[in-house]
C-alpha cells in the first residue's frame, strides 16, 4: 500500500505544490497578518501567486502517459492536464484581478482571500483527475467550501452575505443528493472507483432491467447528475448561480464562472464517459444503461440551460448578473459537446473552454475595473463609455461579440466546433436551437454596446474616465487571444484533439 503512495508522488508534484502554497500562505497569514494589516494581505497574495507560477512551470515536465495514481483515486492523462492548465492559469489571472479590485482590497482579511483561492485551485486540480467516487466527493467539497467563503467575502455587503448563504444551502443540499446517489451506486456495484464500476456494470451481472436494481441504478445516476449539474450550473440546478455571481466579489465570480465550471465539466465527463461505457457488448457510451436515452436527457438539459440563461439575461440591468445568466447559457452550449459523447464533442468542449476563458474573464475584468472607477455595475452607467474610455469600450465590445459567437472572433470558432460535433451526430434540431439561442444572446449583448456607443451618457457627463495603464494593458492582453483564436485556431484545436485522444478509458 505504502509503495503505491510513494510511486505516485513524483507524478503529483503540481498538486503538492498547490497544497503547500495553501498551507504556507495560511501560516504566513496567521503569523504576520492580523486586523488592519492590509500590506501583509498583499504579501500572502504574492506567495500564492508564486505558488501558482511554480505549479504551472512544473506541469510541462510531467509525464502524461495515462495512468492511475494512489490506487484508483486520481487519473493522470492529457485530458486532466488540459483542465489543470486552464484552472491554474485562471487562478493566476484571478489573483492579479483581486489585487487590483477595491472590493477585495478594502477587506481587512484580504490575506485569507488568497489562501482560499489556493485551496479552491487545489480542489479543482483534484476534480480534473478524480476517478474514484470518494475523490470526486472530496474534491468537489473542497472547492465548494472554499467558494462558499469567497462568495461571502465582502462581509459588510448585504448581498454578499445573502449570496453565500444561498450558495451554502444549495451546495449542501446538492452534495447530499449526489452522495445518496453515490451510496446507491456503491451498493449496486460494490466499488468506488469508476473503472471497477464500469467493468461490473458492463458485465451485466448486478443490474437486471426487469428488476428493482435497474430503477435504483437510474435513480443513483440522476442523483449524481444533480451534483454535477449544480457544479456546472445547469438548469434546473442553477438557482444559486445568478445570486452568487452577483453577490460575490467580481474576481471570485470570474473564477467560479470559468475554472469551477471547467472542473465541474471535467469530472462530469470523466465519470459519465468511463463509468457507463460498455466494452463487453460493445454498445459504446452509456452502453451499460439500456432503455433510457441518456444522450437525449443531456440534450434536453442543454437546451433548457442555454434557453433559460439567454432568455432571462435579456431582462438583467446589472451587468454582473447578466454575465451570470450568460455563463449559464454558455454551460448549455458546452453541454452540447457532452451530448454526443464523441471525440469531436470533447474536442469542441475543450476548445470552447479555452476560448470561453479569454472572453469571459475579459468581460468580468472590464466589469470589475469599471465598477472600481464609477462604483456601479448598472447598464445605464455604461452609457457613453465607448467615448469616455475608448480602450475599455472596444475591449468590452470585443469580449461581448466574441461571447455572442460572431466571426472573426474566437467565440465563433468555439461555436463552430460545438455545432460541428452535434451536426456530425445528426442532432440537427439541437444545433438549430443553439443558433437561435445565439441570436437571443446577441440581443442582450448588443444592449451593452448600444449603451456604450449609441447612447449619450446618463447625466450628460462626457468627461473621459481614465484607467490606470495596468488596466489598459491587461485589457489588451485579453483582446489579443480573442482575435488570434478567431483567425488562427489550428494549434488550439490540435492540442484539444491530442488531449482527448489519450483519455484514459
Amino acid at each position: 500500500m505504502i509503495e503505491i503512495i510513494f510511486e505516485s508522488i513524483p507524478s503529483f508534484w503540481p498538486e503538492i505544490t498547490l497544497s503547500l502554497t495553501f498551507v504556507i500562505s495560511m501560516i504566513v497569514e496567521f503569523i504576520v497578518g492580523g486586523k488592519g494589516k492590509k500590506s501583509t494581505g498583499m504579501t500572502t497574495g504574492l506567495i500564492v501567486l508564486l505558488g501558482f507560477t511554480v505549479t504551472i512551470l512544473q506541469m510541462p515536465f510531467q509525464d502524461l502517459e495515462p495512468r492511475l495514481l494512489f490506487g484508483t483515486m486520481i487519473t493522470l492523462d492529457p485530458f486532466a492536464a488540459f483542465f489543470k492548465y486552464l484552472i491554474v492559469a485562471a487562478g493566476i489571472i484571478v489573483i492579479v484581478f483581486s489585487m487590483q479590485s477595491h472590493e477585495v482590497r478594502r477587506q481587512e482579511t484580504v490575506g485569507e482571500f488568497f489562501c482560499f483561492i489556493a485551496a479552491m485551485t487545489f480542489g479543482m486540480f483534484l476534480m480534473a483527475g478524480a476517478s474514484n467516487l470518494l475523490m470526486i466527493y472530496l474534491s468537489i467539497e473542497l472547492v465548494s467550501l472554499s467558494s462558499y467563503i469567497l462568495a461571502g467575502f465582502s462581509k459588510k455587503l448585504k448581498r454578499s452575505g445573502e449570496a453565500a448563504l444561498k450558495y451554502v444551502l444549495f451546495g449542501g443540499a446538492a452534495s447530499g443528493v449526489m452522495l445518496y446517489g453515490m451510496s446507491l451506486l456503491y451498493g449496486l456495484t460494490g466499488a468506488l472507483d469508476i473503472y471497477s464500476i464500469q467493468s461490473t456494470l458492463a458485465a451485466g451481472m448486478v443490474v437486471d432491467v426487469h428488476d428493482w436494481s435497474f430503477v435504483v441504478l437510474m435513480l443513483s445516476i440522476i442523483m449524481i447528475l444533480v451534483g454535477f449539474g449544480y457544479k456546472i450550473s445547469a438548469v434546473p440546478f442553477h438557482f444559486w448561480t445568478p445570486d452568487v455571481y452577483e453577490g460575490a466579489p467580481v474576481s471570485v465570480t470570474a473564477y467560479l464562472s470559468v475554472a469551477s465550471k471547467a472542473a465541474g465539466f471535467a469530472v462530469m465527463v470523466r465519470f459519465f464517459y468511463v463509468a457507463f461505457f460498455d466494452s463487453v457488448l460493445d454498445l459504446g457510451k452509456w452502453g451499460s444503461l439500456p432503455l433510457v436515452d441518456w444522450n437525449m436527457i443531456i440534450a434536453l438539459l442543454s437546451v433548457l440551460t442555454m434557453t433559460l440563461g439567454n432568455v432571462v439575461a435579456i431582462w438583467q440591468d446589472n451587468l454582473k448578473r447578466m454575465l451570470a445568466y450568460s455563463s449559464i447559457a454558455h454551460a448549455g452550449y458546452i453541454m452540447m459537446g457532452l451530448v454526443v459523447m464523441s471525440d469531436l464533442g470533447l474536442t469542441a468542449m475543450l476548445a470552447y473552454f479555452v476560448i470561453y476563458f479569454f472572453m469571459n474573464l475579459g468581460a468580468f475584468y472590464i466589469v470589475m475595473s469599471v465598477a472600481d472607477r464609477i462604483g456601479s455595475e448598472h447598464i445605464d452607467d455604461y452609457r457613453g463609455l465607448g467615448k469616455r474610455a475608448p480602450v475599455i469600450g472596444v475591449g468590452f465590445s470585443i469580449f461581448l461579440v466574441s461571447l455572442t459567437g460572431l466571426p472573426p472572433l474566437a467565440g465563433f470558432i468555439g461555436k463552430w466546433m460545438l455545432f460541428s460535433a452535434v451536426i456530425e451526430a445528426h442532432y440537427i434540431w439541437l444545433a438549430v436551437i443553439g443558433v437561435l439561442n445565439s441570436a437571443i444572446s446577441l440581443y442582450y449583448y448588443a444592449r451593452v454596446f448600444r449603451n456604450m456607443y449609441l447612447r449619450e451618457p446618463l447625466n450628460g457627463d462626457e468627461s473621459p474616465i481614465t484607467f490606470s495603464p495596468l488596466v489598459i494593458v491587461i485589457t489588451i492582453l485579453f483582446i489579443i487571444p480573442n482575435i488570434i483564436f478567431g483567425v488562427y485556431f489550428g494549434p488550439l484545436i490540435s492540442y484539444a484533439q491530442r488531449s482527448v485522444e489519450l483519455f484514459l478509458q
Binding site: 461579440v401 460572431l406 466571426p407 455545432f419 451536426i423 440537427i428 441570436a439 448600444r450 456607443y453 449609441l454
Partner: protein
C-alpha cells in the same frame, strides 16, 4: 500583371482602416487617408476587370493557402465573371461614399472612415471567397461596421433601425451556419471524402444530396440571402435601415450590401442545390414579382424621398430575383447587370437625396418644388438618375429590366407568361412614382421660401455624380463591355441547371473546375 492582385485588393482597405485609426489626430487626415486607400483599391481592382479572361469560365485570380488543417479549411479566394463584376462595383462605390460624407459626417470621423474600409474588405471578401467558412466569416463581419454606421451616424430612430437590421440578418445567417456545417459533413460521407468547406469541391458533391434534404439546405441558405436581398415578406428592416442610415450608409447598403443576397443565391443556391432550385424557382419568382409590385405601390404613397427610394429598392431587387430564378442565360445576365445598375442608380439617388438633405435638413417631398430654376445642375443629375431608375432606353436600367423580362419569358422553368406581365406592370408603376416624385420636387412652384436660398452642387458633388452617370450611360448604350465578361460564367451556371432539369446530371462524372 500585379502578383496576388486579389489579395491586395481584399486587404488594402483593412490596412487603410488600421492606418486611419492610428492617424486619428485630425479629421481631415482621416478623410484623406480613407479616400487615398479606397481609390488605390479601385485602381488596383481595375486590373481584376481588365485582366479577367472572359473566355475562361473557371475561377481566376485564385489564391489558396491552407488555413486550419484540422478542419480542412483554407483561405481560398478567386473570381469568376459574376463575382468580378461585383468586386469592381464595390471598389467603385466605396470611394464615392467616402467622398460624399466629406462634409456631412462631422462626429467621430476616423471611426466612420475605418468602419467603411472594414466594410469594404468584408464585402470584397464575401464576393471572392471560395470557401464557405471564409465566406461566412466575411458575411458576418459586415454586421458590426454596419451596426455602428447606422447606430452612431444615423437619424433620429437609428437605434431601433440598427437593432432591427442586426437581428434580422443574424437570425438568417445562423441557420445558414448549420447548413454549412451539415454540408461539410455530407462531403465527408462521400466515398473517400473528408470534411470540407471548399466551394469548388462542394459544387460537385452538394447536388447529390437527396431532394428532400436539399430542400431544407436550400431553404436555410435562401432565408439568409432573401433577408439580405430583401425579398417581399422579409423586407421590413430595409426601409428603417435606409431612412435612418447616414447617406454613405444608405449608398453602401443599396449599392453593395443588398447584392450580397442575390450574389449568394447565384453562387450557393443555384449551384449547390440545383434540383431544389428548380423546385423552388417559381415560388421565388412569385416572391420577386410580388416584391416588384408591392415595392412600387408602397413607393407611390411615400412622402419622404428617401423612404420612396428605399421602397423602390424592394421593387428593383424583385426584378433581380425574377431574373435569377427564370434560370436562363438571358435572365441571369439581366439580373447581374441589374445588380450593377441598381447599385449605381439607387446609390446615386441616395447621394442626391443626401445632398438636398444637407442643404435643407428635410426630405419631405412637400417641402420642395421649383428646384429646377434654383439649382439646375442638381436637377439635371437628378433627372438622369431618375430616368435610369425607371428604365428609360438608352440608360442602364432599361438593359437590365429588358433582359430580365426577356429571360423570364423564354424560361422553361417558369413556363408562364404571367410573371412577365405582372413584372412589366412594375415598370409602369416605377415610371409613375419616380416621375411624380421628380415633378413635385423639381418642377412647379416652390412651396417653401427656404428653397430659394439653395446653392447648386459644388465641384466635389459634381465629381461624385459624374462617374456614376458616366457608367449609367455606358451600360445603357454599350452593355457588352460588362455582359461579355460575365457571359461564360453565367452560361456555366445555367448549363448545370439545364442538365439537372433534363435529368442528365451524373453526380460522379461532373468535373467543373
Amino acid at each position: 500583371m500585379i502578383p496576388h492582385v486579389l489579395n491586395v485588393v481584399l486587404f488594402l482597405p483593412l490596412i487603410g482602416a488600421a492606418a486611419v485609426m492610428l492617424a486619428r489626430r485630425s479629421d481631415s487626415a482621416a478623410r484623406w487617408t480613407g479616400v487615398v486607400f479606397s481609390l488605390l483599391t479601385f485602381v488596383l481592382s481595375l486590373e481584376l476587370f481588365f485582366g479577367y479572361d472572359a473566355n475562361n469560365p473557371a475561377m481566376q485570380f485564385v489564391e489558396k493557402v491552407s488555413w486550419i488543417p484540422a478542419l480542412n479549411v483554407s483561405y481560398h479566394v478567386g473570381l469568376d465573371g459574376i463575382s468580378m463584376l461585383l468586386v469592381v462595383l464595390t471598389t467603385f462605390i466605396t470611394p464615392i461614399v467616402l467622398i460624399s460624407s466629406w462634409s456631412s459626417i462631422t462626429k467621430n470621423v476616423p471611426l466612420y472612415i475605418a468602419m467603411m474600409l472594414i466594410l469594404e474588405t468584408a464585402m470584397i471578401g464575401v464576393f471572392s471567397s471560395l470557401d464557405i467558412f471564409l465566406f461566412y466569416v466575411f458575411w458576418e463581419m459586415i454586421l458590426i461596421p454596419m451596426y455602428f454606421i447606422i447606430g452612431i451616424w444615423g437619424g433620429k430612430n437609428r437605434i431601433y433601425a440598427t437593432v432591427k437590421f442586426f437581428i434580422y440578418t443574424m437570425v438568417g445567417s445562423l441557420l445558414m451556419l448549420i447548413a454549412i456545417i451539415w454540408l461539410g459533413y455530407y462531403a465527408s460521407t462521400m466515398p473517400g471524402g473528408e470534411f470540407t468547406t471548399d466551394i469548388t469541391m462542394l459544387f460537385d458533391i452538394a447536388p447529390t444530396i437527396p431532394l428532400g434534404i436539399q430542400g431544407w439546405m436550400f431553404a436555410a441558405f435562401a432565408l439568409s440571402f432573401l433577408i439580405k436581398v430583401p425579398a417581399f415578406p422579409l423586407h421590413t428592416w430595409l426601409p428603417d435601415a435606409h431612412v435612418e442610415a447616414p447617406t454613405g450608409g444608405s449608398v453602401i447598403l443599396a449599392g453593395v450590401l443588398l447584392k450580397m443576397g442575390t450574389y449568394g443565391l447565384i453562387r450557393f443556391n443555384l449551384q449547390l442545390f440545383p434540383q431544389a432550385s428548380l423546385e423552388f424557382a417559381s415560388f421565388l419568382s412569385v416572391l420577386g414579382v410580388v416584391g416588384i409590385i408591392y415595392g412600387a405601390l408602397v413607393s407611390m404613397v411615400q412622402k419622404d424621398v428617401k423612404k420612396l427610394v428605399a421602397y423602390s429598392s424592394v421593387s428593383h431587387m424583385g426584378f433581380i430575383l425574377l431574373g435569377l430564378f427564370g434560370v436562363t442565360v438571358t435572365g441571369l445576365q439581366g439580373g447581374l447587370i441589374q445588380m450593377v445598375n441598381h447599385g449605381l442608380s439607387t446609390g446615386a439617388l441616395f447621394l442626391i437625396v443626401g445632398m438636398i438633405y444637407d442643404r435643407r435638413h428635410t426630405r419631405m417631398i412637400e417641402e420642395f418644388g421649383g428646384l429646377a430654376r434654383q439649382i439646375p445642375i442638381f436637377a439635371t443629375f437628378f433627372m438622369i438618375v431618375t430616368l435610369s431608375s425607371i428604365g428609360l432606353p438608352g440608360l442602364n436600367g432599361f438593359v437590365g429590366e429588358f433582359l430580365i423580362l426577356l429571360g423570364s419569358f423564354q424560361s422553361d422553368v417558369l413556363g408562364s407568361p404571367w410573371y412577365v406581365v405582372f413584372a412589366a406592370s412594375g415598370v409602369v408603376f416605377a415610371a409613375v412614382y419616380m416621375l411624380w416624385m421628380y415633378q413635385r420636387v423639381v418642377f412647379g412652384v416652390s412651396r417653401n421660401p427656404e428653397n430659394e436660398k439653395l446653392s447648386d452642387l459644388s465641384i466635389r458633388e459634381i465629381g461624385l455624380l459624374l462617374p456614376v452617370v458616366l457608367f449609367i450611360v455606358w451600360i445603357g448604350v454599350y452593355p457588352s463591355t460588362f455582359l461579355d465578361k460575365t457571359e461564360s460564367s453565367v452560361q456555366r451556371v445555367v448549363e448545370k441547371l439545364e442538365k439537372v432539369q433534363r435529368g442528365e446530371y451524373l453526380t460522379t462524372s461532373v468535373s467543373e473546375q
